[in-house]
Structures are given as C-alpha cells and as structure tokens.
Symmetry: C2
Subunit: 209 residues, 2 copies
C-alpha cells in the first residue's frame, strides 16, 4: 500500500495529536490539574513514560502559574531550552528568560572552581532579585547545585522543573530536589531533556491563557 | 539511605555516560559506523528505543561527513534544533545553520497558501545554492514537503535527518522520505524531536574531529 499523508489543516494537527494521546492514555490515572502538562510532555517526546514518571509537589502547578502571572523569570540550563519556550506568550506576563551557560564569567568561575558551567550558572542565577522558575533539562549538576543553594537558604525558587536527562547523577539529583520544600515538577528516573523542560514551561503558559 | 551524588569531574560525566550506554546495550547489534550516532541519541533521551528505531540509508554517515567537510549548510525546522547544534565545532567547516521558521516571508507564504510554516520554510530552503543537510526534528509537514521537492527534482539534499516527533503524519512522512534516493537518517515511528535532530548533527561533527 502506498504511504499517504492524512489531509489535515495546520491548526488541526495539535488538536488531533492531543486527542490521540488522550485516547491512548485511556483511564490511566493522572493527578487532576496536571493533565495538560503530562500530555504535552508526551506530545513533545511521543514517549508515554511521562504519564508515569512526572511527579508534582502539592499545588506546584497553581503556584507556578501565579508566579508567572506575577512576572517571575525563567532560568534554563541550556540555550536550547530557552529557545523552546514560547516567548510570544511568556512576554505578556513581564518575566525574562535567562540562560547563563555561555557567559564568559560563568566559564571563568567554572574553570577556577573545577565545577561544571551548569553549577556556575546556577550561582549566577542565585544573585537575581526577581522571583524565579528554574527549568533544568540537561545538567544534573545544575539541579544538585540548586539543592545546595536552597538548603543554604540562598535561593527560594517559585518552581524547580527538574527534568535533566542522562545516566550519571541524574536520578539522584532529582530525588534530592524532591527533598526540599520548594515547589517542583520532576521527571523521576533518567528521562527528560531541554525539550521537556521547555514543554513544561509552555504547558504552564497555555494553562494561563 | 541518604541520596548522594557520585563524585565525578565534569570531563568524566559524558565518558561515563557512554560507558553505561554501551554496557546496557550489551550485544545489541548496531550497524557498523552508526554506533556513535545511536549512542548519542540514547544519551540525549535516555531512551533505548533509539537503538532499534534509527534507520540509515547506505553510506549516509560517510556521505554526510564529507558534505560537512565540504562546507554543507544545515537547515532545521525549529530554532530549538538550531540552538542545540555545536556551533563551535560546526563553524570550523565553513557551513551555516539556517532556520527560517520565524521569518516574516515564511509566515506570509504559509498564510497565503494555507500550509504550515514548516512547509513554507522548506520552500525557502530549496532556493539556497549551498549543499544542504536537513535536520527535521519537529514538523512532519516539513518532511512531507522535502519529499515533494526531491521528487520534483527541485532539491537534492546531502542528507535528510528525518526525526520529527508526534502522532499525526509523523510515521508516514518518515516512510515517504525513505522512498527517495537521498541519503537519510530516520527515527522510524513516532519518536524523535529537535533535541534528537541536533544530537545527530553533533554526533556527525564529533566523528569528524
């Protein structure tokens, strides 16, 4: 049989995709209020594992939405994650998006201290005065450093999106961040990514619209 | 037991990650010459499905590496994909990276024709005179349009990285691109993403070093 593309308008593609995801999830139990985030992560990855591995602290979504409305800024650990956030929508609320990974002072600090640039970029972010949402999709060391900064009372984020991906310290860094008192959305286990971090930010933004 | 991070230097993290991936892949058969690409996709996603779903046309990797060495440009279908490509390494070979998705003329063309911006941005890319590698991680419509442009003889890419993710026309668009004569690397099925597209570009770049 010849392969053919389904005729569907650009506007319908996303709607239809979410219908398929909802259909295939069936009666899989999702936490009320988190469905849009879970489904968007599946939409971004085509990976239904996110129905199981996403963990939300109590009222994390509501808290994050309020923070965005009040002008919270987003700090990412990759420029890729920053690129993936819907700036058109986010800009309505007055916040800025920061990624310090490529900054010269971050590189110098990392070299001087023998730490990753992700760690040094979290230290730089801790000096910001605005309310902050951290979207960590790549570096477990960033998440580990956030844990320390929070424990030391030097940082109190509005939300930590803890979805670094990988094989070394990723699982542990996520567990550590869940031990803190700050609101979090974490993809438990190895999975995640800059795309997932950006997609969770976007899901929050679309919930506000 | 208290959660603890493994002490490991920044330089060692990637090396150790690839060791874990190699270990867990065991004797799973990978096509000789494609191992680095497959493992980097797993590294990027923590998803071992990529060991099974990545399909390479004959000599695709060799052909792509030569194209990059000869100054081929990369066209992506998201700015996120563009952001993820290692520019420091890529710039050594003289090529440029293009993403036309946010261009005003692409938006106008898409509106006028009732197509996605991804389709319109592929039309714009087809006018480039340089040798081209397409890294499609998001829009199946971009891949579908590439198929048409190739079939019509209006485009002859050096490589098509066909890894859009999703639920509508994604599987079909990938099968279509594999029917052409152009070199391809495709993630068969629903999975993929801008991160995977960028990571395949980077894997090719690191093979050249």
């Amino acid at each position: 049989m010849k392969v053919q593309l389904e005729k569907i308008s650009p506007q319908e593609i996303e709607k239809r995709s979410f219908e398929i995801i909802t259909e295939e999830l069936g009666d899989f139990p999702l936490i009320p209020g988190t469905e849009d985030i879970v489904k968007r992560c599946i939409h971004t990855s085509a990976d239904f594992d996110y129905a199981q591995n996403l963990v939300f602290s109590r009222d994390a979504v509501e808290h994050a939405c309020n923070a965005i409305k009040n002008g919270a800024c987003i700090v990412t650990d990759t420029n890729m994650g920053k690129a993936g956030i819907n700036k058109k929508v986010f800009s309505r609320y007055g916040g800025e998006i920061f990624c310090f990974m490529a900054d010269w002072d971050v590189e110098e600090r990392a070299k001087a201290l023998g730490v990753t640039r992700a760690v040094a970029s979290m230290d730089k972010a801790a000096e910001l005065k605005q309310p902050l949402i951290f979207a960590i999709g790549n570096a477990p060391t960033a998440l580990g450093r956030l844990y320390e900064l929070i424990r030391e009372g030097r940082l109190k984020p509005e939300l930590v999106i803890g979805v670094p991906v990988g094989f070394v310290n990723v699982v542990q860094a996520k567990e550590l961040i869940m031990e803190t008192e700050v609101p979090y959305i974490v993809a438990r286990g190895r999975k995640g990514g800059s795309n997932i971090a950006a997609c969770i930010c976007n899901a929050l933004l679309y919930m506000l619209e």
